[in-house]
């Protein structure tokens, strides 16, 4: 445990130099968006609705004893889209978000997210801007980012056709790469793809530059729109440095009806897995019905970016007080 030798768990884990780097990073981020004319916004951390994604554990609070549940936001996406629908124009936000049961070398249950939205951008144009931001913040990278389609990356780095492979073939591919197989995934094709990505594909991304992975399987669209084609793909991207996942972006889904059916599918998946039922965000759906302008948005994990900038391998080393000392 980093910092364990510093004489008592009241002390910060991150050293002063890293805390200064964090302050500098925030200042650089503010300068970047100010120069580009995006509006900085502030949306609530406590919300009546939750993220229904079965793989996100929303933390629960109450605004008063005995009062109705309020959920700590796992990202500011829904209220930011309500602002966009209300005519805010391009917006950005730097905030703390919360995800339960995520603790490890690269996870802290409360972490700092940078999220921004660009009207009229698609995911490719937004990837350009993420690359510009990273070039501004990180002068350690000489090589330009690599851009890879999801299917291309899986074919090149794991030797598998991600479009046609069924769960058993993905499982076999993981086993062929000498990764221990878990039990309990069954025929959950997306879970097998997630394991393939985390244990075979991403570890083969170059460590000396950023990798932009784009055009995800439609089953992993999350909040991205689907681009028709052969095959159709989700207009989603992720940013990695080596295997470290840094950011996730979408050419946003603007269709209220499609969004409602994705929420319903998530709620059904939660019920099937025996997870707690959560209230979907009706105010977001109302905003989409009233009209979300065509836009792309991205969320970037600031603590992980700071890990890279400060050369740290454990997220606790960039946090003043990680979960264990909070």
């Amino acid at each position: 445990m980093p910092g364990a030798d510093s004489g008592g768990d009241w002390r910060p884990v991150a050293d002063l130099d890293t805390l200064r780097r964090r302050a500098d990073l925030y200042a650089d981020i503010r300068a970047f968006f100010a120069a580009r004319g995006l509006l900085e916004v502030d949306t609530p951390a406590l919300s009546a609705a939750a993220n229904t994604d079965p793989h996100i554990e929303s933390l629960v609070s109450r605004s008063m004893p005995g009062g109705p549940r309020r959920y700590l936001h796992s990202s500011p996406e829904f209220p930011m889209k309500r602002l966009l629908a209300a005519g805010s124009g391009d917006i950005w936000q730097l905030c703390k978000v919360f995800r339960g049961a995520e603790i490890g070398r690269r996870h802290n249950p409360e972490f700092t997210l940078l999220e921004w939205y660009r009207l009229g951008y698609d995911h490719h144009r937004l990837m350009d801007e993420v690359a510009e931001l990273l070039a501004e913040l990180d002068d350690s990278v000489a090589a330009p980012p690599t851009r890879l389609g999801y299917a291309e990356a899986v074919a090149d780095l794991a030797g598998l056709d991600a479009v046609t492979a069924d769960a058993a073939q993905i499982r076999q591919c993981i086993a062929d790469h000498r990764v221990a197989l878990p039990e309990g995934l069954g025929e959950d094709r997306d879970a097998w793809l997630d394991l393939l990505m985390a244990s075979v594909v991403a570890p083969r991304f170059p460590g000396d530059r950023y990798t932009f992975l784009h055009d995800y399987p439609v089953s992993q669209a999350a909040l991205a729109r689907i681009v028709p084609g052969q095959p159709p793909v989700a207009a989603r991207f992720e940013v990695f440095r080596g295997p470290l996942e840094l950011a996730n972006g979408f050419w946003e889904l603007c269709d209220a009806r499609e969004q409602r059916s994705r929420f319903a599918a998530e709620c059904a998946a939660r019920a099937a897995a025996g997870q707690r039922a959560l209230p979907a965000d009706e105010r977001l759906l109302a905003a989409l019905e009233s009209g979300l302008p065509d836009c792309a948005g991205v969320a970037l994990g600031v603590d992980r970016l700071l890990m890279l900038l400060a050369g740290r391998d454990d997220i606790r080393e960039v946090l003043a007080f990680p979960h264990e000392r909070a």
Binding site: L181, P182, A198
Partner: protein, 188 residues
Amino acid sequence: MASYSTNQFKGGLKIMIDGDPCTIAENEFVKPGKGQAFNRVKIRNLISGRVVERTFKSGDTVEAADVMDTEMQYLYSDGEMWHFMDQTSFEQIAAGDAAVSEAKQWLKEEDICQITLWNGEPIAVLPPNFVELKVVETDPGLRGDTAQGGTKPARLETGAVVKVPLFIEEGEVLKCDTRSGEYVSRVK
């Protein structure tokens, strides 16, 4: 039956894998921002000592292993079993060759050892970190050569063979580190 969720995984946790008691050596939480979370774990089998990798779907549960470490005094060996005594209850247990394993070459009567019990049965024995043992066999010492390099093997009363400086003679008592198997110093 007691069990642990992957959320409780951490180094040292004792769990059952394929019917054998194991200890978690390393636990890495792996999760894409959107998608299934996993725990990739390195596990040491407490009986065979082998380390294997396992992947768990996060949130799954694993049976707990009823394993505890306890301090006991080594009494004697009858050639087949090694006998230990709990110094508070005076209860005695006998450990077989597989449990005593590497430790047996360091076991001296009355020394306090750490015994790992699984369902009350000894599965592993750890000798004290430092032991003091008499040299029973080594080549004659070279007089005057007390400082400069060079080592030779010396057999100790418990059977262990350690490298010692050339000036060490039979009958001397040596302090040894059982973790590295190395000579530390002479005991006056």
